[in-house]
Symmetry: C2
Subunit: 131 residues, 2 copies
DNA sequence: TGGACATATGAACAGTTCTGCAGATGTGCA
DNA sequence: TGCACATCTGCAGAACTGTTCATATGTCCA
C-alpha cells in the first residue's frame, strides 16, 4: 500500500522532492515491504552479541545447550531462550539425544553472513562508532 | 577475562560440560569479545526495517533526506535520526550542498551485506518465523 | 537583513527485548 | 517407581530503541 502509486501522486500531495525521478526508480527497485521486514528480522537475530556468539560457536558443528552456555558465558536459561528464538526462525535446528539437546546451524544464508562478518571483522578493525 | 583460561579451569569449577574439548577449541577460535560486539552492532543497524530500507535506497547512489523520507515513508525527523545513527557508525556519509544533505553508502562491507541479503530474500521466500 | 526552507538535535513517552526466577517437562538410571 | 538431571517455558521487572514534538542551526533569496 506504500508502493509506486503513492509516489506518482506526490506532485499533488505537496511533499517536496529534490529528485523525483530517482525516487520513482528507487521505489520501483525496492523489494516488497514483507521482504524488507523478513530480511531485517534475520539481521536483527544476528544483531545481539550473545546470539551472534552462539552462532559463531556453531559454525564448526553441533553443540549442546550447556556447552553453548559455557562458551558464551550466558546462563543456561538465557541460552535456552536465545536458542528458542533462533529455532523459531529456523536459523538453528535441534537434535535430541537422551536428556541433551544438540543445536546446529541450519540456515546456509545465515552461515554465510556470520562467516563473512566474522572474517571481515577480524581483518579490518571493524567499524568504530564515534561514541 | 572470559577467554580460554576460564575454560581450562572448568573441571574444578563444577560447570558440567558434555564435550569439553570442543568447547576449548571453539573458544580458541572465538573472536575477541570486542570484535563480536562490533560485528553485532553492524548487524543490529541492518536489523531495523526502516534503516534497512534507507540503505537499500542508497544502493544506487546518493539521495537527500527528504527523498529518503519519501522512499521509506518515515517522517523527516525520524529519517534524520536514523541517518545520524548510520553516520555515527560510518555506514553512510554526507555531502552537503546548500541546504540539502545528500547521503550515500560509505561502507563496502555493509553494501555487500545489504546486496546479498536483499538478493537472497527476493529469490527464496525468506525465513518464516513460526509466530 | 529577514523570512522560508532543509536538516539536525534533545527530551520524553511507548513499545519491544532480554534476563532471571520459578516451576514444568521429559529422560535415564538405581 | 522415584530421583537427579538437562532443558524448556511463562512471567515480571529492567534496559534499550525508535518515534514524535518542539526547537535549534545553517542556507538561500528577496
Amino acid at each position: 500500500m506504500n508502493s509506486s502509486a503513492d509516489v506518482q501522486g506526490l506532485d499533488e500531495c505537496a511533499v517536496r522532492l529534490v529528485d523525483p525521478e530517482r525516487v520513482t526508480s528507487v521505489n520501483a527497485r525496492m523489494p516488497a515491504e514483507d521482504d524488507i521486514v523478513d530480511t531485517a528480522d534475520v539481521f536483527s537475530l544476528l544483531g545481539d552479541p550473545r546470539r551472534l556468539k552462539l552462532l559463531v560457536a556453531l559454525l564448526d558443528g553441533e553443540l549442546c545447550v550447556c556447552d553453548l552456555a559455557a562458551v558464551t558465558g550466558l546462563s543456561e536459561s538465557a541460552t535456552s531462550h536465545a536458542l528458542r528464538l533462533l529455532r523459531a526462525h529456523r536459523v538453528v535446528a535441534v537434535r535430541r539425544d537422551g536428556r541433551n539437546a544438540f543445536y546446529r546451524l541450519d540456515d546456509a544464508h545465515v552461515r554465510m553472513l556470520v562467516d563473512l562478518a566474522v572474517a571481515h571483522t577480524e581483518h579490518t578493525d571493524a567499524i568504530h562508532p564515534e561514541r
